[in-house]
C-alpha cells in the first residue's frame, strides 16, 4: 500500500475532513501546491480556492476554502480555514438561502462555491 498522509480540514464551526490520503493539493497564497507524505515542514497562508484530496491517483474529495492557513508536517497536514464547503455535498438551493442574508465577504465566497460546483 502506498504511503499516506493524515489530513485535517477544520473550520470554526466544524471538522470538515479528517482522514488519510495519498496527496492533498492546497491553494496557497503564493500558488497551488501539492502535499505528499514526508513533505517538508511548512506553514503556508492560503487563499480562496479548491482543496483536492487524492487517492489512487484520482480526486476523491473536493472542498472550497476561503483563505486560512495550512500547517504541514511530514506526517500530517492541518488546514485551518475560516470558511469551507464540501463541494460534493453542497446543494445550490442551500447556497441561495445563504446568499439572502450574507455579508459581502460571505456572498463572494458563496458565489465562488457556485462557480466551482
Amino acid at each position: 500500500m502506498a504511503d499516506v498522509i493524515k489530513i485535517e480540514l477544520v473550520t470554526p464551526s466544524e471538522m470538515l475532513f479528517s482522514d488519510s490520503a495519498e496527496m492533498v493539493v492546497i491553494p496557497g497564497s503564493e500558488g497551488v501546491f501539492g502535499v505528499l507524505p514526508r513533505h517538508a515542514a511548512t506553514l503556508a497562508n492560503l487563499q480562496r480556492g479548491t482543496l483536492n484530496v487524492y487517492n489512487n491517483g484520482a480526486i476523491t474529495r473536493r472542498f472550497l476554502i476561503d483563505g486560512g492557513v495550512a500547517d504541514v508536517l511530514p506526517e500530517r497536514v492541518i488546514i485551518l480555514a475560516e470558511r469551507a464547503v464540501d463541494l460534493d455535498a453542497v446543494s445550490t438551493q442551500h447556497l441561495d438561502e445563504q446568499l439572502v442574508n450574507a455579508t459581502e465577504a460571505e456572498a463572494a465566497f458563496v458565489n465562488a462555491v457556485k462557480e466551482a460546483v
Binding site: 485535517e8 477544520v10 473550520t11 470554526p12 464551526s13 466544524e14 471538522m15 496557497g28 497564497s29 503564493e30 501546491f33 517538508a40 515542514a41 511548512t42 506553514l43 503556508a44 497562508n45 492557513v69 500547517d71 508536517l73 511530514p74 492541518i78 485551518l80 475560516e82 455579508t103
Partner: protein, 290 residues
Amino acid sequence: MANLKDLKTRINSVKSTQKITSAMKMVAAAKLRRAQESAEANRPYSSRMQQVISGLASKASKATAPALLVGRETVKTHLLIVVSADKGLCGGFNGSIARQTRLEIKRLEEEGKSVLLYMVGKKAADNLGREITDKIFERVENLQGSNLDYNKVDTVSHKILTGFSDTSFDHVSIIYNQFVNAITQNVVVTPLIPVQINEDQEDTGASNYEYEPDENELLEQLLPRNVTTQIYSALLESFAAELAARMTAMDNATRNAGDMIDSLTLVYNRTRQANITKELIEIISGAEAL
C-alpha cells in the same frame, strides 16, 4: 398558628414560583443542547490553532519574533477579559467569575502591575461594581447565544489588538467559565498575548519550518486570527456553561419549591384538622352543658 387562608395563599405562591423555575429549567436545557453543540464543534479549530501557534512560539526567538507571539520584555499593564453572563439566576456562575477576577486583580497588583478590564456580559461588571470603575477598558453586553458570531468577535479582538499595539497594556488574559459537562463548569484563566506555550506539545522535530510567503507576513495574519479564535471559543464555552449552570440552579430551585410545598401542605392539613377538632369539642361541650 397561621390561619388557613394565609397558608393557602403561601402554597399557591410557591407553586407558581415552581412553575416558573421549572419552565426556566426546560428552556435552559433546550438551549444548552445547541450551545453545547456549537462549543464542541469549535473545539477542534481552536485547539488546532493553539497547537500551530504554540509550536511556532516555542521555536521563535525572543529577539526577532513579534510581540504578539512572545510578549514584551517589560510588562506593566495587564488586560483581563472577563466573560460573564448578561442574565442572572444561574447559580454560582457569575459569582465565581467575579471572585476569580478579584483574586487575579489582587495578585497582579501585589506584583506591582496595573490592571485593565474588558468586561463581556453584564453580571460580573455589576457584581464587581465600584471596585473596578477606574479599571474598565471597555464593556460589551449582549454578545452571546444567537447574537454571537465570528465577525462581532473580530471587532472585539481588533479593539484589543489596537490597544496592545499602542501599549495600553502588555499582557492579555481571558477569564471565563469552561463548559465541562451539564453539571460542571470550570473557571479558567488563559493567557492570550503572549501565546501560551504548551509544554507537552508533540515534539515535531521539524525545527525549521518553511514559510510561505515569508515568516513575518504570515505571522501578521495568523496571530490576530488566533486572538479572535480564542476569544470566540471562550465565548461559546462560557455560553454553554451559563446555560448548564442555569439548568442545574433551576432544577434545584424546582426541587426546593417542591419540598416547601410538601411541608406547607402538611402544616395546612394539620391546622385544618385542629380547627375541625376544636369546633367538634365546642359542639360536644355545648351539648353536654344542656
